[in-house]
């Protein structure tokens, strides 16, 4: 088993533990933990489910994916905390709906990146081989 799967499984366990632990606390920080866990859990599951794709695309992309989703999770958790102000209601709605829109964009960007990288690898290897033959 490789580090990518090990890391994602450990993250899944941490998220489940975090959710369960937070359920026993009424402290405001517990909500942040729950939301962070709820955001990171699908990310870790995607990495586990698509580990073959991530590996083919390169470990750098795998690290980017995890870091990107981690930052997204922290932002999502922080955003909910920050939104408790008496500002312009329409702004709140814009911010709320930015969350899923950002997630869709992240998903599409990652999908496109994977497709390109996975498709590019064999092509790159093939062009190198041909260049070698020409030399």
């Amino acid at each position: 088993m490789q580090a990518l799967e090990r890391g994602s499984i450990a993250l899944i366990a941490l998220c489940a533990l975090g959710t369960l632990g937070a359920a026993f606390s009424a402290h405001p920080a517990a909500t942040g933990v729950s939301l962070l866990a709820a955001t990171l859990l699908p990310a870790a599951l995607i990495v586990l489910g698509c580990s073959g794709v991530v590996r083919r695309a390169g470990s750098g992309v795998g690290v980017l994916l995890v870091v990107g989703l981690l930052v997204g999770g922290v932002l999502a958790a922080g955003l909910v905390g920050m939104l408790r102000f008496d500002g312009w209601p329409a702004m709140r709605w814009a911010l709320i709906w930015l969350g899923p829109v950002a997630l869709i964009l992240i998903a599409v960007a990652y999908a496109a990146t994977f497709e390109r990288l996975v498709a590019a690898r064999p092509r790159k290897a093939e062009s190198k081989r041909r260049a070698g033959e020409r030399r």
């Binding site: 937070a22 699908p42 489910g49 909910v80 709140r92």
Partner: protein
């Protein structure tokens, strides 16, 4: 006008049912539509099966009662389509390629080579189906009461059940798939029109927000991200509806039907786009109805589940009300027929196989089981005196806790064994049912020392994940042993 449109729609469904019934040649046609479905058909039918009365009646009703916090159920839609397709669609479709895997329990039986896992998965599916199918029937009853003026809810529920049975009983999933596509298109049109009309009637987005924020009954807190809900509930919604979606058999079942697995990459965009468009009804009506009540143009709604119907009766023009009723019927029926099929397969295919006694004619037995299951679900829904959204959350959670961890991790991690999978399904399902029982008797979450607003589904889903992982870690790695 409404009656006429509803009548035309029901006749069309009956026609599709009769057409499909003649094309059912065996279990593969009956349970997974012959695996001939195109991408648009799978995408639209996944959306229409996933979105039901829960979205059209329950969502605006919940928003009317608790405010913007209800939208935390809808927010995960931003990523769930891609999440489902990336993690489950390909493995499920590939496992069913040889024509012997028709259900989620079949998948687990093949993956773990264990009949007990298949049996436990079938029990989980049955527990959730009774709740979810009951929800649809109850909503259909409420709708029939409103459209046809029937005073008795049990009679209206029985009439609604008879209509769905009329087309799904003989055509199975083949009829379900084609009617789902038709119903999905109607739902999208209805949701978009309803949202636009409701927000326009209330004076536009600015007027909606200022009316709600300025009223004594609702106030600015109604529009806060958490509305009137405890924050633990919001986090629970996000977890259960974001991750638990992978355990919903009526959604993942559609992946078995895809004809061309190579085109899967386009599926997230189709499902996600359709779901986002359909959720406009939750957002639009959920905000516009409180605004209209605040403006004094709509009487306060006594029963939150009837908020959508009250709006249609009082403020929508006849043509829009007709389209909206057809969309509502479509939402309810498309989900109900999926559950009838899945529940019948669990009862007459998965359970007998788990017991080592497969039935000779599974299609015939499934038709009989469909009727029995519908009766049980209707009785359960009538006895469960709570909001449609509450019944939906409970049923969604049952599937989530029972099946999501074992599907998501079990299919991706070869080390997971049958014992861990079985324990995860059994504990996840049992714990969710137990906690729901405690919650209905005011013993959860307080009596267990948990924070107010904690969702039973969030706890049972987390425990189910932890049991699966812990038992797998404790088990020696078979590959290391064999080496």
């Amino acid at each position: 006008m409404t009656l006429f449109l509803a009548g035309v729609y029901l006749v069309m469904l009956a026609g599709v049912g009769a057409w499909s019934a003649r094309r059912v040649r065996g279990p593969r046609d009956y349970f997974i539509a012959g695996q001939r479905a195109g991408l648009w058909a799978v995408g639209l039918s996944t959306m229409s099966a996933a979105f039901s009365a829960f979205v059209f009646l329950g969502g605006p009703g919940l928003a009317y009662r608790v405010g913007a916090g209800s939208l935390f159920i809808a927010l995960p839609v931003g990523f769930t389509a891609a999440f489902l397709c990336w993690t489950l669609a390909r493995p499920l479709r590939e496992m069913s390629a040889d024509g012997s895997v028709f259900t989620v329990a079949d998948v687990l039986a093949r993956r773990f080579d264990d009949r007990r896992v298949q049996g436990l998965a079938a029990c989980c599916v049955l527990a959730g189906v009774v709740g979810y199918l009951g929800l649809q029937l109850k909503a259909l009853g409420v709708l029939f009461q409103s459209v046809f003026g029937i005073s008795s809810l049990p009679l209206a529920v029985a009439l609604g059940a008879a209509v769905i049975l009329a087309y799904s009983l003989f055509g199975g999933m083949l009829a379900g798939l084609y009617t789902d596509v038709l119903q999905g298109a109607i739902m999208l049109a209805g949701a978009a029109l309803l949202c636009a009309h409701a927000v326009h009637t209330a004076g536009g987005p600015d007027a909606v927000l200022s009316s709600v924020a300025g009223s004594e009954a609702f106030g600015p807190g109604f529009l806060d991200p958490d509305g009137r809900l405890p924050q633990a509930t919001l986090a629970g919604f996000f977890l259960v509806f974001g991750v638990g979606v992978a355990g919903q058999p009526h959604m993942v079942h559609k992946f078995f039907m895809i004809a061309d697995v190579q085109r899967l990459r386009f599926l997230p965009a189709i499902i996600g786009g359709a779901q986002s468009l359909c959720l406009l009804v939750w957002l639009g009506l959920g905000l516009a109805i409180p605004a209209l009540v605040a403006q004094g143009r709509l009487a306060p709604v006594a029963q939150a589940d009837k908020a959508t119907l009250a709006y249609l009766a009082e403020l929508a023009p006849a043509a829009l009300a007709g389209v909206a009723m057809a969309a509502l019927l479509a939402a309810i029926m498309s989900t109900a027929d999926s559950f009838m099929n899945i529940g019948a397969a669990a009862l007459m295919r998965d359970l007998p196989r788990a017991l080592g006694r497969p039935l000779r004619d599974e299609v015939l037995a499934a038709r009989g089981a469909t009727v029995a299951l519908t009766g049980v679900a209707a009785a359960f829904a009538l006895a469960y005196g709570d909001l449609i959204a509450a019944l939906g959350t409970f049923s969604f959670s049952t599937f989530a806790a029972g099946l999501a961890p074992v599907l998501l991790i079990g299919l991706a991690w070869p080390r997971v064994g049958a014992a861990a999978a079985g324990a995860s399904i059994a504990v996840g399902t049992g714990l969710n049912l137990g906690l729901e029982f405690l919650a209905r008797n005011d013993l959860f979450p307080g009596a267990l020392g948990m924070a107010p607003g904690t969702l039973p589904g969030a706890v049972s889903l987390s425990v189910s994940f932890l049991i699966l992982l812990t038992m797998t870690w404790l088990r020696p790695d078979p590959r290391e042993e064999s080496a």
